[in-house]
Amino acid sequence: MSLVQQSNASNSSGGGSGNLYDVLELILDRGLVIDAFIRVSLVGIEILKIDVRVVVASVDTYLRFAEACNRLDLESGRKAPAQLTDIVGDTMESGAKGKSKGALTGAVEAFTDSFQSGRDDSDDDKEKEKRPARKTSASSSSRRTAQRREE
């Protein structure tokens, strides 16, 4: 289980950045407006309003998923598919704890979390090949697009 609970009350004066980031969309996109009044320009803010469905249904994404599946197949060898889950569990538990598990998590994050992409550059994880780099440029360009739309 993984649960992170942020209590804002304790955080409001210092303003933990993770916390603020998590509620950014609420502060910027929800909340009450008065019709006759205006909103200040939000130029410079990255509102990450990418339509997730469009991102998922793209050639790039298809290829990425296909390659990820190929890799999973390799890792699990020729074992029966029904046992896949067990094998993963074993690998993750018996592997050298810090390093291999960290690498696995890092790679997954590079696929799924565009906000983390910058941090992965220092990882010398050979298995990742060029994937994170490509991901980074793809996501930052779509972020720029989103930003332009806001302007």
């Binding site: 289980m1 993984s2 649960l3 992170v4 609970q5 942020q6 209590s7 804002n8 009350a9 409001s12 303003g15 950045s17 603020l20 998590d22 509620v23 609420l26 502060i27 910027l28 996109d29 929800r30 909340g31 009450l32 407006v33 008065i34 006759a36 009044f37 205006i38 909103r39 200040v40 320009s41 939000l42 410079g44 803010i45 990450l48 997730v52 998922v56 249904a57 050639v59 994404t61 298809y62 290829l63 990425r64 998923f65 296909a66 390659e67 990820a68 599946c69 190929n70 999973l72 197949d73 390799l74 896949l84 889950t85 993963v88 696995l104 997954v108 696929f111 799924t112 979390d113 906000f115």
Partner: protein, 237 residues
Amino acid sequence: MPTYIYAITAADHPLRLDGLSGVGEPAADLRTVKTRDLGAVVSDTPADLRAKRRDLVAHQSVLERLMADGAALPMRFGLVGPDDEQVRAALDQGKDSYTARLAELDGRLEYNLKVSREEESLLREILTQSAEARRLSEYTRENPGAQNEKMALGELVSQEIQARQEAMAKDVAQTLASAAERVSEGEPTKTHFLNVSFLVRRDEAAAFSQAVHEEAERRGEDYAFSLNGPLPPYSFV
């Protein structure tokens, strides 16, 4: 000078603003605008106001303070009226609606929950359960040049991911809805298949939080739950 508006409250809200300051650099002084029935927390609007980090924190901090002392309608960041007089006029004009919403939200808080699942665990599940995905994956691994099959695999997996994420999102939201009063679904993000806000009674907050813990535990370690709150009820105004 234009008037920046933070929140609308009932006239009897204490509006305890000591130690807080408004948006802008240097920070604007906070003040209140009152009518017979309602109050608003406002400040001058800095000339070059942007949604900078410190401004967002200032906005959020005011709302959190107000929330601690009673019901308040949080304004969206960056809302600006022409002057205090017109804010007062807007309060009068919207009096019935604002008063009703304040009553609805009295003693209630927002909790925002985002849930993600490790992509790899989802891919494994799909490969395990879909014979076609398995077949295509094996084929393309052995024939790396088979672009059509690769695309077919990617498309199939992508559809499976979407369907499964939607089902998971619905399932988690429904499970937790019973512990909350209202639910407001936000857009999923690239990372999170579920992004949802709950309106929870203050005296039921502990039980709600417990329900989220239990759901996170039930889902297991492939899932990451991120619960934020209590928050001003941004999603329920």
